[in-house]
């Protein structure tokens, strides 16, 4: 449904997106996971035709958005990261305006507006000005804008940023429903749990580059199916590096004063064998936390850093 080939975009000397390539298959929920500033929004902006790439190209359902912008955009529904609503208009005004841009008119437009408002639980507030909405309500209305014209492809750029858990659950539920109805979804996020719960395939992006891509199972396998162990204590970085390097069956990802992150290699000695060595290393440990294989461990393995919210 989407083919991204060697996409590149610079802002001055900053390379925001660097040779990014991936494909999104029809009907799947594809996740683009990465920390803030990784290049997710720039990639989305190039896919939806707002930003012209410096290199590479994007095909949406076989069409090039820069050659047939109106035709390709009709197939797209975009939910931007920022709240793109006119606050002095009502929820219905906003949606009717947006629908009319896609050629919806009259009774059909009104029924679509009613449908999407009902879907996100905002029917009661249809005639209220957006100015009085909470952050979560605005996010839900923002989502409606992308769904109104029933697009074949839905691009969602961090649609759950800064909202309460209930609104977040509602948004994720709506996205699942839309995908179940056959809409292809490209979903960017820096929340690992969202990517894990929602996406069939995930691309991890950092510093403008795709680091890896695959299903959740494939990615965790890539991580070595080993647990991630975090240590904290009163040790200094040099001493900890020295001690940890002498323990077999572990891979050290990051060490700083008082903190260390390592993973237990799959197929090796196993966590139960490694733990006594760690505890006996006289590092003055205060805390040891163990995390099962996850996207977090994949990200750590790939970047040596944690993906923070």
């Amino acid at each position: 449904m989407i083919t991204v080939q060697h996409l590149r975009r610079c802002f001055g000397t900053l390379v925001a997106v660097d040779d990014v390539s991936f494909e999104v298959r029809e009907g799947e929920i594809f996740g683009l996971l990465g920390p803030n500033g990784a290049g997710k929004t720039t990639t989305i902006n190039m896919i939806c035709g707002v930003l012209r790439p410096d290199g590479g190209r994007v095909l949406v359902d076989g069409g090039d958005i820069w050659l047939d912008p109106v035709g390709v955009k009709r197939k797209l529904g975009v939910v931007p990261q920022e709240i793109a609503l006119y606050e002095d208009l009502t929820a219905r005004d906003n949606l009717e305006f947006w629908g009319s841009l896609y050629g919806l008119v009259g009774a059909e437009l009104r029924s679509r507006v009613d449908e999407v408002l009902s879907r996100v639980g905002l029917s009661e507030r249809a005639r209220d000005r957006v100015k009085g909405f909470s952050g979560g309500m605005k996010r839900r209305l923002n989502l409606c804008m992308g769904l109104l014209h029933r697009p074949r492809l839905l691009l969602l750029d961090e649609p759950t940023v800064g909202i309460d858990p209930q609104a977040r659950l509602n948004i994720l539920e709506v996205i699942r429903e839309v995908a179940a109805a056959g809409t292809t979804v490209l979903y960017t996020t820096h929340y690992m749990d969202e990517a894990e719960q929602l996406c069939q395939r995930i691309a991890i992006i950092d510093h403008g580059k795709i680091l890896t891509l695959g299903s959740l199972e494939e990615l965790t396998r890539l991580a070595g199916e080993g647990e991630v162990v975090r240590l904290s204590g009163s040790f200094d970085a040099n001493r900890a590096s020295d001690c940890l390097s002498r323990i077999d069956g572990i891979t050290v990802h990051a060490v700083s004063d008082g903190r260390a992150v390592l993973s237990v290699a799959a197929g090796g000695r196993g966590l139960t064998a490694v733990l006594p060595d760690l505890l006996g290393a006289e590092l003055g440990l205060d805390d040891v936390s163990i995390q099962p294989p996850s996207l977090q461990s994949v990200f750590i393995r790939l970047t040596g850093r944690e993906l923070r919210d």
Partner: protein, 414 residues
């Protein structure tokens, strides 16, 4: 379709924010009303001068002096309040513009030809009104002095008659009347007709134009309305920056809308909002008694002025980097153009060396057009130059503004 949707949305936003729109209309209307009240009072509500009169003399002459204020033309402006010695205290408390004190023996001294004194106490907190009272009393004092000199013998005779026992006899009064009459006859040749005659002439407009009989609001509202629509256009074009800064434009361009359609829609909505605002101001002006001139000519001028306002503001907004910069720059332009273009004061009152600069403002061409229609009794043909300048500049500025914005948007400046 997309253009119509954008225009509809923008106009709907004006409707949904009535307070902002009402304020836009209120500013020129209130200013015009204030200007009219200040400069156009019809006399009924004119300032009245409150004067305290302490008459210790209590004679016929002092009564005559006060009676001079009974002239209807003076009476409307003068509020004479008889007081006693407490008048000084009232002056201390600022209750009047002046106190006129006629001391005891004033008439006696006048008739005897001795120096007679009138005292005027002025309110120091006021500048203009006490001066008026002082001048008025000075004129009265000069008149009495001349009277005293010309009729000195007769006045002394009157004094001796009044100071004698009992009433003067008929013969004495008759002789006095004859003497006064003879003196007046001798003076008549010198007094009448007056050597200097005052004649007031109201100038007519040059050429065949006929001065329209218009209310004072008609002088001020057109210029201030033009300033008002500039502010209206400022609010409408500010949206372009707001949409750029808030991400609304970026989102809009993910829909099947081209940059060209967006800009056409934006230009149209800015023009329509401005023209609709001007039309409402014209209607409100009509209700308030403003004569806008021939309807067709006035409508053409409203449209041309709205186009000029929309184009000017869009061009400025397309050149600035942020909404804050846009607000600051456009407000300066609007105020300066309004001052130089005749929105506040007629061009004729502006120093001549500034006139070329005044003519470089679009406010001048709009205000001048309305002045021709309203005060000069002109028609459509008389304002053709104004219409051409306003329309051409408005369209050119709108086009340039749209092109600058397009370049920015396509360069990724959304």
């Amino acid at each position: 379709m997309a253009v119509a949707a954008i225009v509809r949305r923008d106009l709907l936003r004006f409707v949904r924010s009535p307070l902002r729109t009402v304020l836009m209309f209120a500013i020129p209307l209130v200013m015009a009303a204030i200007f009219s009240l200040v400069f156009g009072g019809d006399g009924a509500d004119a300032i009245s001068i409150r004067v305290l009169v302490w008459d210790e003399d209590g004679s016929l002459l002092s009564a005559l002096l006060q009676g001079g204020a009974d002239d209807p033309r003076v009476d409307q402006r003068l509020d004479l309040v008889p007081v006693g010695a407490e008048g000084y205290q009232m002056m201390e408390e600022g209750e009047a513009s002046a106190l006129v004190h006629i001391p005891a023996g004033f008439t006696e001294a006048f008739l005897k030809g001795q120096p007679a004194t009138l005292e005027v106490v002025k309110n120091p907190a006021q500048r203009f009104l006490p001066q008026v009272v002082e001048e008025g009393v000075s004129v009265g004092a000069v008149a009495l002095s001349q009277l005293s000199r010309v009729f000195r013998p007769e006045l002394e005779q009157i004094h001796s008659m009044l100071s004698g026992d009992g009433l003067p006899g008929d013969l004495a009064i008759g002789a006095m009347a004859v003497a006064v009459n003879q003196k007046l006859r001798r003076l008549e040749r010198s007094l009448f007709p007056p050597a200097v005659k005052l004649e007031t002439v109201t100038l007519k407009p040059a050429g065949d134009a006929v001065a329209a009989d218009v209310g004072i609001l008609s002088y001020f509202l057109p210029g201030l309305a033009i300033m008002g629509i500039l502010f209206l256009a400022q609010a409408a074009t500010r949206d372009v920056l707001l949409e750029r800064e808030s991400g609304l434009l970026r989102h809009l361009l993910t829909a099947p809308v081209t940059v060209g359609q967006y800009l056409v829609g934006k230009c149209l909505s800015v023009f329509l909002a401005t023209a609709a605002g001007f039309a409402i101001l014209v209607l409100l002006g009509l209700v308030a008694g403003v004569t806008w001139g021939p309807p067709l000519a006035a409508a053409a001028l409203v449209l041309a002025s709205s186009l000029a306002a929309a184009g000017t503001l869009l061009l400025i907004m397309s050149l600035v980097g942020s909404q804050r910069q846009g607000d600051a720059l456009t407000t300066i332009v609007i105020i300066v153009w309004s001052l130089l273009g005749g929105a506040f004061i007629p061009i004729s009152q502006i120093p001549r060396f500034l006139h070329p600069i005044c003519r470089a403002t679009l406010t001048y061409w709009a205000t001048d057009g309305f002045t021709t229609l309203i005060l000069g009794g002109g028609g459509l043909t008389d304002i053709v130059p104004n219409l051409v300048v306003l329309t051409a500049c408005g369209a050119l500025f709108l086009l340039l503004g749209a092109l600058f914005l397009r370049r920015r948007i396509l360069a990724g400046g959304t």
